[in-house]
Symmetry: C2
Subunit: 175 residues, 2 copies
């Protein structure tokens, strides 16, 4: 089935001018005074990628404090997908950290346990789509920073990122 | 000529185990006790990309404090290539900033002049090769962080990054 898909090579840039309306994304927003975006934004496109995951999501991102992104991942794990997260060890205690939410949902989380920064910002969906760029998973990155994400289905590239993810996953195994 | 080139889709990961030996890269290292790397490292591959530039290098990177990368860019400008740099406005005053070196070499530098973070980490060589990932241009990123850079000659992708570069270049024109 995977091989039937159209190849994806796409770029999204931030900041979004306006915060994406979650109610609208999820079906309907009845607030006639809603000031959030009911259009496609970079953030809504990013969220959609994870919402459409079918089997697995591997995330390797330095900072994860964005609640909406964390909620989607936790929900996916609850629905039976395999979600794995590697993040920087400083995220264990940082303000707004979403790691408690992941662990409560059964998502496995590993941190680098070194003095190095685990500075990656990539995710792999269903072992067939890579999301990679400058974007940390924070609210500020969405509407407050100039950022990019490259989204590709290039198999040769995905294989290398998947291999690096698996290598770090083993390396950071608390044992 | 450009169309004759082999397509490039390559990934390099950091940290390097060992600092790349500059003398060896530039031809010869006579130090029999040299403890730096005489092999290919991720850093030596990155430097080589810029050294092989023929016409232009557009850099859009949050932090630029790595002297070796800055030296290559300044040298390229002196040899007649067009080097343009966009970086975060906080880089104007930060410790180790290489902006003075760029300006002394005639490289045009623009900063975002906003409260937003200009958080990109990409560069475009000869309008035909993109380097993009988590990697800021610091010494720490080379041997002290887990980082990635995706290097691609995909024209559709490069066009979008070049367009964003040009848009930000105009936006940050001090006028
Ligand atoms: Zn709404
Ligand atoms: Zn040497």
């Amino acid at each position: 089935q995977k091989d039937d898909k159209e190849p994806v090579d796409k770029v999204i840039f931030f900041p979004d001018d306006t915060v994406s309306c979650r109610k609208y994304r999820n079906g309907i927003c009845k607030d006639v005074n809603c000031r959030m975006s009911h259009d496609n934004t970079s953030f809504s496109q990013l969220i959609t990628i994870f919402e459409q995951a079918k089997r697995s999501i591997d995330v390797c991102v330095f900072v994860i404090t964005c609640q909406e992104l964390a909620n989607v991942l936790a929900e996916k794990q609850k629905r039976g997908l395999t979600v794995r997260i590697i993040t920087d060890s400083e995220q264990e205690d940082c303000s707004g950290s979403q790691l408690y939410k992941f662990r409560a949902a059964g998502v496995r989380v590993r941190t680098d346990r070194t003095t190095f920064f685990m500075h990656h910002k990539f995710a792999i969906v269903d072992n067939s789509l890579l999301v990679n760029g400058s974007f940390n998973w924070t609210k500020q990155a969405v509407t407050g920073n100039f950022e990019n994400l490259l989204i590709t289905s290039n198999k040769g590239i995905i294989q290398q990122y998947q291999q690096e993810f698996n290598r770090l996953w083993e390396k950071f195994d608390p044992g």
